[in-house]
């Protein structure tokens, strides 16, 4: 009897923790449909008014475009560099391996504020202006350790014997890469790209240091809008971002399953 009630308390506690975790997210989505000028309770109906207003808000659309380009470039560079490094760690033994691995994962433990100041100081010393390129290289540094962790975990399963088998059957190195290595790598590449895109798309703290008025991202824009007060428009923007960053991996998962089934 005691055991049962103990377990149900644990379950109840877990449910409450979930409520705590998801309440802010749910409230953003709910309030974004509030037709009132001030985005708060009580709701006086349901409308898409703020979404339409967003669709005509030129600065936010520009910020969206910036964020998408930034996220895509970050994903491409970070994943390319990350996959190469992960291959080295998974496939080869060399002196200083552990030290190098720790060095490459270190940015996770360094506060973004420090990364932000450091890179900005460096750029200043080189007498370079803050440009979009600064955002891209900054985001590559931010996302690289995560890509490395994710990709390394996926690569461990890919044994070298597959490639050796292809080569012993007469494939040249290029054919081996194209027909064996690349298809095996694809899930890791996609995971790395998705992850780095999302981190870049959502990043705020370091981006506040690197962005200028000309190249604002969506989170930086939201940060600026919050200065006035919270509004239904910010909630609507939040809803769009939530749908985008959750929808992309879901869609990717669905598509990849569809494609593998079609094979």
């Amino acid at each position: 009897m005691i055991k049962v009630s103990g377990w149900s308390l644990i379950r109840l506690y877990t449910i409450l923790v979930y409520v705590f975790m998801f309440a802010p997210i749910a409230v953003v989505v709910v309030l974004s449909f509030n037709p009132e000028q001030f985005g708060c309770f009580p709701m006086k109906g349901v409308s898409l008014r703020w979404f339409f207003k967003l669709a005509h808000n030129e600065p936010i659309l520009i910020a969206f475009k910036n964020s998408l380009i930034l996220g895509s470039l970050t994903a491409i560079f970070s994943t390319t560099i990350g996959i190469l490094a992960a291959l080295a760690f998974v496939r080869y033994d060399f002196p200083g391996k552990n030290t190098l691995n720790t060095l490459l994962l270190a940015p996770i433990m360094i506060p973004e504020v420090i990364l932000g100041v450091a890179l900005l100081l460096f750029i200043r010393w080189l007498q370079q202006p803050k440009t979009f390129i600064l955002l891209v290289i900054g985001h590559v540094v931010l996302t690289l350790p995560y890509v490395l962790l994710i990709v390394q975990a996926r690569l461990v399963g890919i044994k070298r014997v597959y490639e050796e088998a292809a080569q012993s059957l007469g494939a040249n190195p290029f054919q081996t890469f194209k027909e064996v290595t690349l298809p095996l790598l694809t899930p890791a590449i996609l995971a790395g790209m998705l992850f780095s895109f999302t981190i870049s798309f959502d990043d705020i703290t370091a981006t506040l240091f690197w962005a200028t008025a000309q190249n604002q991202t969506v989170p930086v824009k939201i940060f600026g809008m919050l200065r006035n007060s919270i509004s239904p428009e910010i909630n609507a923007l939040g809803t769009v971002m939530i749908i985008l960053t959750i929808g992309t991996p879901l869609l990717a998962g669905y598509l990849s399953r569809k494609f593998t089934r079609g094979d």
């Binding site: 103990g6 490094a85 080869y92 994962l105 506060p111 705020i204 703290t205 939201i222």
Partner: protein, 286 residues
């Protein structure tokens, strides 16, 4: 051996040079700049002096922000432990078929914008927010009470951001426990509680300590929750750095504060690594 080495070197060189050029050298610049002087005109003058650090520790204003950062970090760790252990234990013991989905849900916030999750606490705790609305409507309160812009609301934002890290670390540790140890304890006459206290809890401590370190380090460097959910009295050290560097363009002093923050984190991580080993941290992140 030697002729085989070029391959890993070639594969690693882009990543290593990126981190070296864009992280190691720039952080080195922070250290160098922290000794520089700032001319009244605003120009930076190369120097080697400790004036910036002396300024930081000159009166109680800046050290109090440092102490607050440390205190809030400990509070966040404690609250994440209290709120995180039980759900992690639930995942470990539960036999529900929704377990995979529940675990995915806990990781879902990683995919949702940090600023959205943080600012939404205004929707919940604000004067016209969810809680005040219901308390007034139910007649418990006659008028809304201020729940925002204090340390409590900052902690809400911090916990919401960091709890998944804690839960995952503890869960990974619990999941690695050989279940036959528990059965052995039970068969030797331990009660459920005794088995937990004597077997499960001690074996989950690596996850607890790894999660605590991660949460501490991430809290100590946090900028956004105190900025959005805190008042003037809730500033943390990252806010101070931002204000000095972006606000007043005082690069040498901003660098010195950054060095103070980095030293704090280094001391914490070094102590941890010395006694517990750092590699556990990266396990859960995979």
């Amino acid at each position: 051996m030697k002729n085989k080495l070029w391959k890993p070197i070639a594969l690693l060189s882009p990543a290593v040079s990126a981190v070296f050029l864009l992280l190691v050298i720039p952080v080195g610049f922070i250290v160098v700049y922290s000794f520089w002087l700032r001319a009244p005109s605003g120009a930076d003058i190369p120097a080697f002096q400790f004036g910036n650090f002396a300024k930081f520790f000159a009166d109680f204003f800046y050290p109090s922000i440092l102490l607050r950062t440390i205190r809030v970090s400990f509070e966040t760790v404690a609250l994440c432990l209290v709120m995180g252990y039980i759900p992690a234990y639930f995942f470990y013991r539960s036999k529900t078929r929704f377990k995979a989905i529940l675990l995915l849900l806990i990781m879902l916030p990683f995919w949702i914008s940090f600023i959205i999750r943080t600012m939404s606490w205004i929707n919940i705790l604000g004067d016209t927010g969810l809680i005040n609305h219901f308390l007034v409507k139910l007649g418990i309160l006659s008028s809304p009470i201020g729940m925002l812009y204090n340390e409590g609301s900052v902690l809400m934002g911090l916990i919401q951001y960091l709890l998944p890290f804690m839960i995952l670390n503890i869960y990974v540790s619990l999941d690695g426990i050989d279940k036959s140890l528990l059965e052995a304890a039970r068969s030797m006459g331990c009660t459920e509680w005794q088995a937990f206290k004597e077997v499960t809890l001690p074996l989950s401590l690596p996850g607890v300590s790894a999660g605590s370190l991660l949460v501490f380090v991430l809290t100590a460097g946090t900028y956004l929750p105190p900025m959005i959910l805190g008042g003037p009295g809730n500033e943390m050290i990252a806010n101070l750095i931002f204000k000095r560097v972006i606000g007043t363009l005082d690069w040498p002093f901003g660098s010195a504060i950054s060095v103070v923050l980095l030293s704090l984190l280094l001391i914490i991580v070094w102590t941890y690594n010395r006694y517990l080993g750092i590699n556990q941290i990266f396990k859960s992140l995979q």
